[in-house]
């Protein structure tokens, strides 16, 4: 069963069409990768799905119901959570407090704090519970971004470039967490720029360019696709 269906999703900012008539669906239990060159509209697409932006037209159907116009915090209750590409920190809150707040969306106070401690250890931030964002490295901040999402106990998790800016070795920790979650039945949609990572992690890939979907297939087939090579890899070769 499709947990998420995107139907003809379009978003215009003034004269610019950031996302243009994009349709695809996400099957329960898969890891779907979304790739595309810079400015292709991936983050906008995420904001539309997670209801941070309202689409100009089209529909987002989650668990059989349209979620257009449903506030983001309600979606978290229903099990749909997103991370942010630009790490969103809480200046005056330490790691444990932030993850506890996320866990409060499903658990009472005392349980939430214990559970948050578990999640923090699972993503590899153990021992850093009392650190505030200013003393966290970029890698740790990205892990915190993942921990926040995990602590809400989602069914569907949208990860926006959680590996960006990390070295290939540093991506191991978040990747292991994502795979572990997926084994437990959480569906994952990830936007990623780090190609080797997404090629290994994703079961299926959607390619976006200039706001439009240009391909959708398994990683092995995608790398052979001429349109994808032109749009995406071609750009990398030129650069």
């Amino acid at each position: 069963m499709a947990i998420l269906q995107i139907a003809g999703l379009t978003k215009c900012f003034g004269g610019l069409t950031a996302v243009n008539d994009v349709s695809f669906s996400v099957e329960e239990g898969e890891i779907l990768g979304i790739i595309g060159p810079n400015g292709a509209g991936k983050t906008t697409l995420f904001s539309l799905i997670s209801s941070f932006l309202k689409p100009t037209s089209g529909d987002v159907i989650y668990l059989g119901e349209s979620i257009v116009g449903v506030p983001p915090h309600v979606l978290v209750q229903r099990g749909l959570v997103r991370s942010f590409q630009i790490v969103q920190t809480f200046a005056d809150m330490d790691v444990l407090d932030v993850v506890t707040t996320a866990a409060l969306s499903r658990r009472p106070m005392l349980e939430a704090e214990d559970y948050a401690g578990d999640v923090i250890r699972r993503v590899g931030l153990g021992g850093k519970e009392r650190l505030t964002p200013t003393s966290l490295s970029l890698q740790d901040k990205k892990l915190l971004e993942v921990a926040k999402c995990v602590a809400t106990e989602p069914r569907l998790i949208l990860l926006d470039e959680v590996m960006a800016g990390l070295t290939l070795a540093e991506t191991e920790a978040p990747l292991a967490v994502i795979r572990e979650l997926n084994r437990q039945g959480v569906t994952v949609v990830m936007v990623e720029h780090v190609m080797p990572v997404i090629m290994r992690a994703a079961t299926r890939i959607v390619v976006i360019n200039f706001g439009e979907k240009i391909a959708e297939d398994t990683p092995a087939t995608i790398v052979e696709d001429q349109r994808v090579i032109d749009a995406y890899f071609g750009e990398l070769v030129d650069a």
Binding site: F52, F84, S105, L110
Partner: protein, 340 residues
């Protein structure tokens, strides 16, 4: 509820300090008892404001509206309609809560930024003062005189001196305990995420409108109750004092100097600034007019420059590093826990 709340509630130091303070009326001469009472009023006011302004990060300049409602409305109800002041206090608190809810909704509906929120709440406060001054039934510009305090508890009279001091002590302790409770409940966690980053708060499931409104309503209602007691203390209900935005500025200043968002921060600010202001006025007010304001202002500036995040956080980190060096093996002291 997190256990930190009960740790304070069971702390002998906390209750010992309260009992010691409660003995104040027996030892203090009346002038110093007045200063102590005033300090307690401002501890209560600044701590109430802290729920919205400190923990929630919403710089509300509307709080004179709630003090004014608590003071003026309950007094007017007594004097014009003969309504018992206890009931008047409840009515005023409900009206204040409603106004707080409306302000929160306007903030949410129009997605006001921090600056717009501050300015709009200030505009509401100005309007409130003008309405009181222009309405004869509320005492107008000349204010209202409450009947003499004969110590009749049923008529909201506590006896001048000791009685009203204990009332203010109760309100101050109550306001601090509310802060402590909020910080150790989910509400406090939600408010702190909202303060630091609204979008990210929503993304982890925090309902912005609901939590901001709850905080505002709690703060407004408690502030209103303090306003009613303040009116009773002063006996003369002067709109230029109790409904004026200047009062809010004092409250914000005290909370900021003490430490925003901390349960005991605003109390520390009040303990420092209110006696300082009063004593400076007493000592210097007669010699050179305005000199006491000058000294007061200089002290405030010095404190803010030295401890930009407030006195309490500065003291805590000092204490933490001192303890850390004393026993380097020791765990992080619990006093450095957030919101302590």
């Amino acid at each position: 509820m997190k256990s930190e709340f009960f740790t304070v509630l069971r702390s002998p130091v906390f209750w010992g300090a309260i009992i010691l303070l409660a003995l104040g009326p027996f030892v203090l001469p009346s002038y110093y008892l007045h200063i102590a009472t005033l300090t307690l009023i401002y501890i209560a006011l600044a701590s109430s404001w802290n729920i919205v302004g400190g923990i929630g990060g919403q710089i509300s300049l509307a709080h004179s509206l709630f003090v004014g409602t608590g003071a003026v409305l309950s007094s007017a109800l007594l004097l014009k309609l003969g309504i018992n002041m206890w009931l008047g206090m409840v009515i005023a608190a409900l009206v204040s809560g409603l106004m707080g809810a409306i302000i929160s909704f306007i903030d949410f509906r129009f997605r006001l930024g921090h600056l717009s929120f501050a300015l709009i709440t200030l505009a509401f406060a100005e309007m409130g003062e003008i309405i009181v001054i222009g309405t004869e039934a509320l005492g107008g510009a000349s204010g209202l005189f409450l009947p003499k305090d004969k110590g009749d508890l049923l008529a909201f009279q506590f006896g001048s001196g000791a009685g009203i001091f204990w009332v203010m002590l109760t309100l101050a302790v109550g306001a601090i305990l509310i802060n402590l409770a909020v910080l150790n409940l989910p509400l406090g966690f939600y408010l702190r995420t909202i303060r630091d980053n609204e979008a990210a708060a929503q993304a982890i499931g925090v309902n912005i409108l609901r939590n901001k409104t709850i905080a505002m309503v709690i703060s407004a209602m408690f502030t209103s109750v303090i306003g009613t007691a303040y009116a009773r203390y002063l006996t003369f209900v002067d709109p230029y004092q109790l409904a004026s935005p200047v009062l809010t500025v004092e409250i914000v200043l005290i909370a900021t100097v003490g430490g925003l968002g901390k349960a005991f921060g605003p109390a520390l600010g009040a303990v420092l600034l209110i006696p300082l202001g009063e004593i400076l006025r007493g000592k210097l007010g007669g010699s050179l007019p305005g000199l006491h304001y000058f000294v007061y202002g200089a002290v405030v500036i010095a404190v803010i420059l030295a401890t930009p995040r407030g006195l309490l956080p500065a003291l805590q980190s000092r204490l933490a590093s001192w303890r850390g060096s004393a026993k380097s093996e020791a765990k992080k002291p619990s006093i450095a826990a957030p919101g302590a």
